[in-house]
Symmetry: C2
Subunit: 362 residues, 2 copies
């Protein structure tokens, strides 16, 4: 009916569409789909935002004459859901519209859906084939897989560094090691995440806004690690979007001020002068945060690396050498045999620097 | 007669041929040439090694029937010489063989030749055009330009580093931060240089051979900075090729042992516990060394960077993070405004790491 290359071409398009949702879907996956009738594309769709219509529904709604859908073919990157979540099951609407066949990229790892969506369709006589561009679709949904399977956010570290690994001078100055072009790329990365996390030292020294400038209407949670509630209520970080502070010290006066400002406060126990990352991640998981970007500073980044909770790292290199300074690996110490290793790394070169992207080897 | 693209194609071939001499020409330039008759290439040549025939002579010698050369066209990347050096003037042999026209890539910066070679040919009625692929040819001969114009070697730093700029652990262990693939690339870079320089600490800690394995019959000078003559006469560095030691302490016994081993010793004054790089470079210039590769360790590299005598840097990055350790920028200290900056940098990605290549901004 379709050649393998044709099928893959439709999936490539569906993946491209799915990508448009990046940054907006929170704990939902990125999904794209294409509806084909008589070898012509009659509609496309993607999951646009958390709580909104699923990709299949978006595409189906675009077809005004529902008769057209009868005997048409659906290509969808992720297995259609068969349960009531924020929206009704996609399998119902596919069955109702009498699709002839559904090509599914990968099974949904969510136990509520896994293989059940496909079974539901088959039971109603709809042909289903599964397993196309699996590697690409899984990679595209690495955040979702982590969130669903390990019940914690996918953790990314980002650092803007010199060639010798320095993210700030010894007196904590870091504005700006990289240039405008790389900062824009860094902001894009931030926009693609659900939450951004910083240690209190970075908030005090840099007083950053921590906002997204590249994606429209993007809301990001700002997470601050501030055991002693040292944060100033006038800090710029409070200007936009919501702030969550992890703290320990019971400073009731400060707690009241912050709560009145609408800040969410989460109290955790201290261990070795830091919180247990697993507890932080658990709290964020509960709040639907599927991807967490740790942006700084040296201590917080080192600490996360040491705790082995980091999934991916982005190093934004400026073509500069600093010498003495604060390194993103400041507090780490390994011998040659057990250095932290990256796998599947890629380099993106720009005129004024380059970005290294890689996954942490476990 | 020829279209611009045809001319450039011949020059591209000549540049490619010239490249084959890299590593063998010492203070001589890399030169390639192509002889064309009736739009057909009848011979090619390149300068193969210091003291050997120049590219033009190599090509001309290949043509057995010298009548063929009459009215032929010569494409040569560098202006033909017109003086007696190690070999007779190339202009003589071009004139003698009645070439019709000579296309010259760039003028030879050597004052003995500069524009004189071209003038000699024109005086004898040979047409000459100058200025083709100048940027590429100058880049190919960056070592020669530095050597001729500034009367010192072109200085390259190479360091094998982690992503956080560490070249060894705090206890000086560095074998091997990068993998076999990158080490081979590193050896290639070494082979392309005339001399390799290390501090005595690297010799003591690593006991390296400092040999070239990638280029056949390549002789490299090994330069060691050893103010107090701490070197062990059994050090592996003495196994192959010749060694030059810069020293200060008048240890007559050690001096005799080393001299008997055939080591060249050069005594310099100490300033701030180190030698003056300008004096080191002057001595190397006198010895025909046009390109110097500084390979380590942390102190020597930092010191060279601080002295601003470095022209180019190669950082061989392993996708690893070390934390505490020795950085190649160990002894440097700058504020954000005067960091060392690289320009025209390039990244070469490999499976197990990447190489950054760039020039130091002055």
């Amino acid at each position: 009916m379709f050649k393998k290359e044709e099928i893959e071409d439709y999936f490539r398009l569906a993946i491209k569409l799915a990508e448009k949702g990046r940054g907006y879907t929170l704990s939902n996956p990125l999904v794209g789909c294409v509806i084909v009738k008589d070898k012509k594309i009659i509609a496309t769709g993607y999951h646009q935002k958390y709580g909104g219509d699923h990709a299949e529904v978006v595409a189906i709604k675009k077809v005004k004459d529902k008769n057209l859908l009868k005997n048409s073919i659906l290509f969808v990157t992720l297995e259609p859901c068969c349960h009531y979540g924020k929206t009704p099951p996609c399998t119902d609407i596919i069955i109702e519209n009498k699709f002839k066949k559904v090509y599914v990229g990968i099974y949904d790892p969510n136990p509520l859906v896994y293989k059940k969506g496909v079974a539901t369709l088959r039971k109603k006589g709809i042909e289903v084939e599964v397993g196309f561009l699996e590697k690409e679709i899984k990679r595209q949904n690495e955040v979702y897989f982590k969130y669903i399977k390990e019940k914690r956010p996918f953790v990314i570290i980002k650092a803007a560094t010199t060639l010798d690994g320095k993210i700030a001078t010894l007196d904590y100055k870091s504005k700006w090691i990289t240039n405008e072009q790389l900062r824009k790329e860094g902001n894009k990365l931030r926009c693609y995440c659900d939450a951004i996390l910083c240690g209190i030292n970075t908030i005090i020294k840099d007083d950053p806004y921590l906002t997204c400038r590249v994606l429209k209407n993007k809301k990001i949670k700002k997470i601050i690690i501030d055991p002693n509630l040292k944060i100033d209520k006038k800090a710029k970080v409070f200007k936009e979007n919501s702030v969550i502070i992890f703290y320990h010290k019971k400073d009731n006066k400060k707690i009241k001020i912050l709560k009145d400002m609408g800040v969410e406060l989460i109290r955790l126990d201290l261990k070795d002068n830091f919180f247990d990352w697993k507890e932080i991640l658990k709290e964020l998981y509960k709040r639907n945060i599927a991807s967490l970007l740790i942006e700084g500073g040296a201590r917080t980044i080192s600490n996360a690396l040491k705790a082995k909770i980091v999934d991916k790292i982005y190093l934004f290199y400026a073509p500069k050498i600093m010498g003495k300074g604060l390194s993103f690996s400041e507090d780490l110490s390994y011998n040659l045999k057990n250095l932290i290793k990256l796998k599947e790394f890629k380099i993106h070169q720009f005129k004024e620097g380059f970005i290294l992207e890689g996954y942490l080897k476990k």
